[in-house]
């Protein structure tokens, strides 16, 4: 596996439990940033970064617009905006139409990151009940990146990883208990 410049994790229904299990087992010295895009209700801001920051020694923060993407930080996509990654490795936020009924949309982050990080990008799609992220994973593969999914058998809601498995050539199918090690080895 090539060097990883960024890991992006997308998830919807049933993905929070996975994050709560995986984050505590992450190495505190990751050499790349993690961006987490999960669907949630508008207005529930700041709860998620607070909840997740209690589970890891890594810095956890909500994305600010135009902020540089830095290694060793876990970024949370804010609710009700799409999080995009720019060529100069900064974040942009976008309040355009929902995609797959979702804002933030996982596709939007995967697709913009795919072009920027190309073969140094790893994207992971977790449990969820819609197909957001699937087109994004297609872009990731088209640009040479690595596509992983949560093993649908271990997902509370298997539809999202299943759709990815059907439509995209997936590199890794990961049960929850293998995820932290997989991520730590990307460093």
């Amino acid at each position: 596996m090539g060097k990883c410049d960024a890991l992006i994790i997308g998830g919807s229904a049933g993905s929070l439990d996975v994050l709560l299990k995986v984050l505590p087992a992450l190495s505190p010295t990751l050499s790349f940033p993690i961006v987490i895009v999960v669907h949630r209700k508008h207005g529930s801001d700041s709860l998620l970064p607070d909840l997740l920051s209690g589970k890891t020694k890594l810095q956890v923060k909500e994305v600010d617009e135009k902020e540089p993407v830095q290694a060793g930080v876990i970024y949370i996509a804010p609710s009700d905006y799409h999080t995009l990654i720019e060529r100069d490795h900064t974040f942009s936020l976008d309040y355009s139409e929902k995609i797959n009924y979702s804002r933030p949309s996982i596709d939007a982050t995967f697709q913009t990151a795919a072009e920027v990080y190309q073969d140094k990008l790893v994207c992971l799609l977790l449990s969820g009940s819609n197909a957001d992220g699937v087109n994004g994973l297609k872009s990731v593969k088209a640009w040479g990146g690595i596509a992983g999914i949560q093993d649908p058998a271990s997902a509370q809601v298997s539809y999202m990883p299943e759709q990815a498995y059907i439509h995209v050539k997936i590199d890794y199918v990961l049960p929850i208990e293998d995820m932290a090690e997989f991520i730590n080895l990307l460093s």
């Binding site: 617009e65 995009l84 720019e86 060529r87 976008d94 309040y95 355009s96 139409e97 087109n135």
Partner: protein, 275 residues
């Protein structure tokens, strides 16, 4: 919407943006690249362009299509009383302070289809300030302004807007502000009487008045840092002392050298010009 994006290079996007500036005088070169590129790719897919060359040719040579292009690549998603807590602060803190002035001039920059303009008008009316207020609502896109001027919004949105209105501190019956006309809600002429809809491009147009309140929410996120600085300077030039500047939930004045002249209203993205 669920799109697989075509592959278009950054260089092709740059060429297109240079065309727009040269042929039409619209300058999108200071926009955030990832965002504008996504908008362009989205339209390219929606309109099933055969090739980028054809897409570019059409934009450059068909003025009707160019209008569609501008309408589609700018983001026009908005709602009434969006972020109700923000409007509550306007209602309870900002507008009552401005109410002591003999006349209130408000600039709503990037007003899109007008939902926020009518929201502000409703609050001014309830505070009994509408008669001495004027809202300049501007956007670069004439198509959305035309829609804004009709003061009609989808009936299907009214339940959501009514909830937002109540959360923003409104206590009237929201439906008293419009009349239902099949699938559309037509807002009263009184609300519109103090709004002036006009084109203004934040990138290329200058200050046109002095205001006590400038609102520009979820516009700066589409600009790169340099353009953000330039536009914030334009706002500063257009804002009276002790006037207020209101930005979007994820936007800030903090990185700007102007911030030293401003004092933030606690917990809100509202700054008061103090020197």
């Amino acid at each position: 919407m669920n799109l697989e994006l075509p592959v278009v290079s950054d260089e092709q996007v740059e060429v297109l943006l240079a065309d727009l500036l040269e042929h039409y005088g619209y300058d999108f070169t200071g926009y955030s690249k990832a965002s504008i590129k996504r908008r362009i790719l989205r339209l390219y897919s929606l309109d099933k362009a055969v090739s980028f060359a054809e897409f570019r040719y059409r934009i450059n040579n068909d003025t009707f299509y160019f209008k569609r292009f501008v309408e589609q690549i700018t983001v026009n998603v908005t709602e009434m009383f969006r972020d109700p807590v923000f409007f509550k602060t306007l209602r309870n803190e900002v507008l009552p302070k401005l109410g002591t002035y003999p006349f209130i001039r408000i600039w709503l920059a990037g007003c899109s289809t007008g939902e926020e303009a009518y929201s502000i008008s409703i609050i001014l009316k309830e505070l009994n300030l509408l008669h001495k207020s004027l809202i300049y609502a501007t956007d670069l896109n004439p198509v959305v302004l035309e829609k804004a001027g009709q003061s009609m919004f989808a009936m299907s949105q009214m339940k959501q807007y009514s909830e937002n209105y109540i959360l923003s501190g409104g206590t009237k019956d929201f439906s008293s502000y419009y009349t239902a006309n099949y699938s559309l809600a037509k807002f009263s002429d009184e609300l519109k009487s103090k709004i002036i809809f006009s084109t203004h491009n934040l990138v290329s147009d200058h200050s046109f008045n002095e205001f006590q309140l400038i609102l520009c929410r979820n516009v700066l996120i589409y600009f790169d840092r340099d353009l953000q600085h330039k536009v914030l300077q334009l706002f500063d030039d257009s804002l009276e002392g002790l006037g207020y500047l209101a930005l979007g939930t994820k936007e800030t004045l903090d990185f700007s050298p102007l911030s030293k002249n401003y004092k933030r209203v606690p917990a809100e993205k509202i700054w008061r010009k103090v020197s």
